[in-house]
């Protein structure tokens, strides 16, 4: 029996973690992730969970403690945002390279300077090559659902990679929504307990983190790449089982109107919600527009994106982060690489938007759709990288 609770995005994450039998949480508060840690620490205080909550002095220490705990075979969660993720950066690589299946909520906030606490994806995009599976969600419901699935994906012996579940700062983290939650027993049954393949155990000693030079390091990295490449099988399997349990189906990407769309927008996170609403009203006026929202950003859903864009004539790629000095934003670079690799000739342009929490309004999105329709008609891209919402 599922019930509906009023939860913020952060609250939904904390609630999901509460239900997932997590052994250790080591976290440091940072706006706008604070609610996750705050609410979870209340669960600990009230004795609602058996979790060992480790108060640490920084995010670097938080991830270090998570790595240690995870290596003992514990189920581990943490959460951070922005500068916190940046401070964790070196430990992110260690967590994934030591194959620690940690789940982390990342509340996407921009990186200083100037200091700003609002949403964009530059924090996670700055660490996108850290070898973690990366999920982006559109609303609090998806945050709740993906956290639960994330433990199953991460801890699967065929994967053993950490997972970040990314949710937009304030837009999701602090907005109250109705979230359909499962009963504790249902979640418990779904996630079970972690069954570690290898763990630190005095009775059967292993060495973790030994020096590994030119003779073996490359092989270790190649193995890590393969784990990521093979993870889609597990992700699909977990999505299927979650759909059976909840009726809420997830996949690598969500599409809207793509069956007959002539042009489309592809974007991550909460913006997809606005884009779908705009697409709906434009489609009612006979404009064939569609939306593609990758839930899974790493591993990049090449196959699924190629399949969905087969018949469109123009595509706008929305990036809520800029890769300064690169030809495009991070998502656009991935999309263009995918198209080139598959030999697909498609008119693509990049929209950089929403930096530091600047709103992406329905009017902005409608203008992007109209420009995409124009490009589909003329084949002329006036601005390959367009900044939407910035004052000239």
């Amino acid at each position: 029996m599922s019930k509906i609770l009023g939860l913020t995005g952060d609250g939904a994450v904390a609630y999901a973690v509460k239900q997932c039998n997590v052994d250790v949480v080591a976290a440091y508060p940072i706006t706008p992730q604070t609610l996750i840690v705050e609410e979870f620490s209340e669960y600990v205080h009230n004795g609602e969970v058996h979790t060992e909550f480790v108060c640490v002095e920084s995010e670097h220490s938080a991830m270090s403690a998570c790595v240690g705990a995870s290596l003992t075979g514990a189920r581990v969660f943490t959460a951070t945002a922005s500068q916190g993720l940046a401070l964790m950066h070196e430990m992110l690589y260690i967590a994934s390279s030591l194959r620690c299946p940690i789940v982390m909520g990342v509340v996407n906030r921009t990186l200083s300077a100037p200091i700003n606490i609002h949403c964009d994806h530059s924090d996670m995009m700055g660490s996108r090559d850290c070898g973690w599976i990366q999920i982006y969600v559109e609303n609090a419901q998806e945050a709740y659902d993906w956290i639960i699935q994330a433990f199953r994906i991460a801890e699967n012996p065929d994967v053993l990679l950490p997972v970040t579940v990314n949710l937009d700062a304030f837009i999701l983290s602090h907005s109250l929504e109705g979230v359909k939650v499962l009963d504790d027993v249902e979640v418990e049954k779904f996630v079970s307990t972690r069954k570690p393949v290898l763990s630190i155990n005095p009775d059967k000693p292993i060495t973790v983190g030994a020096l590994c030079l030119t003779d073996f390091f490359f092989e270790t990295k190649r193995q890590h790449v393969e784990a990521m490449n093979q993870s889609p099988k597990t992700i699909s399997k977990v999505n299927r089982e979650f759909a059976e349990l909840t009726g809420r189906g997830y996949d690598f990407i969500e599409t809207y109107g793509m069956d007959d769309a002539e042009v489309a927008i592809i974007c991550l996170g909460s913006t997809a919600g606005t884009a779908k609403a705009v697409a709906k009203s434009m489609r009612a006026n006979g404009k064939k527009v569609g939306v593609i929202k990758p839930w899974v950003y790493r591993p990049f859903p090449t196959e699924q994106i190629v399949k969905t864009i087969e018949n469109i004539k123009a595509l706008a790629v929305l990036d809520r982060a800029c890769s300064i000095g690169a030809p495009y934003g991070p998502l656009c670079s991935d999309v263009i690489a995918t198209l080139y690799k598959e030999g697909i000739k498609l008119n693509v342009f990049n929209v950089i938007y929403g930096l530091g929490g600047r709103d992406m309004t329905p009017l902005d999105i409608e203008a992007v759709f109209n420009e995409t329709l124009e490009i589909a008609k003329t084949g002329v891209i006036k601005e390959p990288v367009k900044f939407v919402g910035v004052r000239e």
Binding site: L198, I206, T207, V208, D215, F216, F217, F218, E219, T220
Partner: protein, 101 residues
């Protein structure tokens, strides 16, 4: 240029067969890691001068000074050639000789 095979990379296990995450499954395996080929200078002990005081062994960071029946010797499989032994020897019995391979 030496070919890859001659560098003996081929004889080591590939990524498909090694444990994940660089984990070592057996304890005490550091002994299998022969660090002698890091050396650019080799310590050579002059047995005439050496008094077998073993100070070199006390200072050696790698435990590469060994005791033979009558004298002190160097285990060249592990000696990295740091030269601390030569520096500390009170009777200057150890000289560092350039390795030529």
């Amino acid at each position: 240029m030496r070919r890859r095979k001659e560098l003996s990379e081929e004889s080591k296990p590939g990524w498909k067969s090694i444990p994940i995450g660089g984990i070592l499954l057996e304890p005490g395996s550091a002994i299998k890691y022969k660090t002698g080929d890091w050396r650019t200078f080799r310590p050579v002990i002059d047995k005439e001068k050496c008094t077998n005081c073993l100070l070199c062994g006390s200072y050696c960071p790698d435990g590469a000074i060994i005791r033979e029946e009558k004298n002190v010797a160097v285990n060249y499989e592990y000696c990295k050639g740091c030269g601390i032994c030569a520096n500390e020897c009170p009777v200057k019995a150890i000289s560092m000789v350039e390795e030529r391979r």
